[in-house]
Amino acid sequence: MRLLVGFIFGFVGFFLVSVEIAKALVRLRKVLQPTVHVLVPQVLFSYLISTVTRERRSPQEVNRELFRLGVWGGSLAMLKLAKPEELARFWPKSFDAGKLGGFIKLFGSAAWYIFAGHMPAIRTEARAPKLVWVNLEESPGGDAFYKVETPEGVSVWYFLAGAYEGATLTSFRMLGEEERFLAMWRPLPGRNGLEGYYALREVGSAEIARACVDADPEFFSVVSWEDSARFAEELLGVKIPPIP
């Protein structure tokens, strides 16, 4: 009898220890994984693209709508995840292309890391007086919510460009710089990434648009300056002056 009781206690003890070991292994596996689990966001993002594709007539219109949805989502993400005082700590007091580049690299990378789970490569350069041009290229390999199959001509990068545009315009608002700064983002041509600018409004919309087209002649081919202005006003209440 004593032997049987001992055996039962031993078995239960072994079972409990095994469960704890299994739990620890699950935690370890989660920690060692290169990115967060992305399957559910990927499914939801695919569903979003399917819905928009069904509602719109051409891939261009789908891309434009994805961009619009991105603007809204990016603004929300910026408001929820960034604190105004944290942004202000790194924001240059006056226009300084070098310091502004540092700010863009820091927060651009942080935002990418939060949503994609890996760091991008960001390059900034002063392309015109008081205008900083930005190239953001993703590091290959890592899985992320936006890595889903899309129909011919539809690109997830329009959603991401819209998200960066919405987030950047919202960050200007949080910094009290909405009346002074403008920013626009578009997909990087031929590569996985984004391109865009930060500029003082005083540069003028015509000059800014010229700098964009000089850097990438197709910059406004799908989402025009007017589209950006319309989405910014409709969704965020940000006024972007038209090109004269």
């Binding site: 929300l76 408001l79 949080m174 969704l235 209440g237």
Partner: protein
Amino acid sequence: MSLYKLVVFTGPKGSGKSSLIKALFPELGVRFDEPAYYRDYLASGGLAVREVASRAEALELVLTALARWRISVGVLVVDASKPIEGAVDPRFLMIIDRAERRCVVASKVDASENYVSEVRKLAQERGLELFAASPKTGAGIEDLKSWIITGQRREVPEAALAQARVAPPPLLVDLIPVPVRVTHVYQKAPDRSMLTDEEREVLELCDGVRGIWEIAAMTGRSYGEVKKIVDSLVVKGFIATFKTKMA
């Protein structure tokens, strides 16, 4: 005794009867051409929806048969985007006068110019319940539907009017700003004196249930304008977070 509750829609041609029926009962295969005399649809919940033609001879024929109609709800639809003087044939009123409950619906109130005041005058003169609705934006539709089914109203016409004047929601998802709640004695409440009048007005409407679009409708501002004010409230520490809901 009929198994169905008869709801009769009447009103001038082009007043939006078919669109209104479709907006109220989306499950119905509503036809948008003029009926010969009247057209019946069976809706869920034991409702029979009858759309009466607006032609004079159709109205004459309907009036001869009217004594046999047991109308529960009579709905007179009037296009509020145009002056109503001379548009409302007395025979429309004779039809809905047979109903147990009667109303006049000022339709198309989303139009930039509207004549709801004239419709209100008609409602007062004839003792009709007044509704303002827009099948295009959905404003006032739920209120009217609730009244048709239960006899209870959900909102005053002014709320529907205000809602109809703003553009439809820009997205299918609306953001609900959730205000900061002071729950501990040591927690310092944000200083309201730093708010502008418009920020204070919007903050009063942020109850953790209303979305930005609803607040826009209530204040007569655009979605973007309210978003800007809400963002400012976030920065000033009055909004704790956002929730989402269907717009």
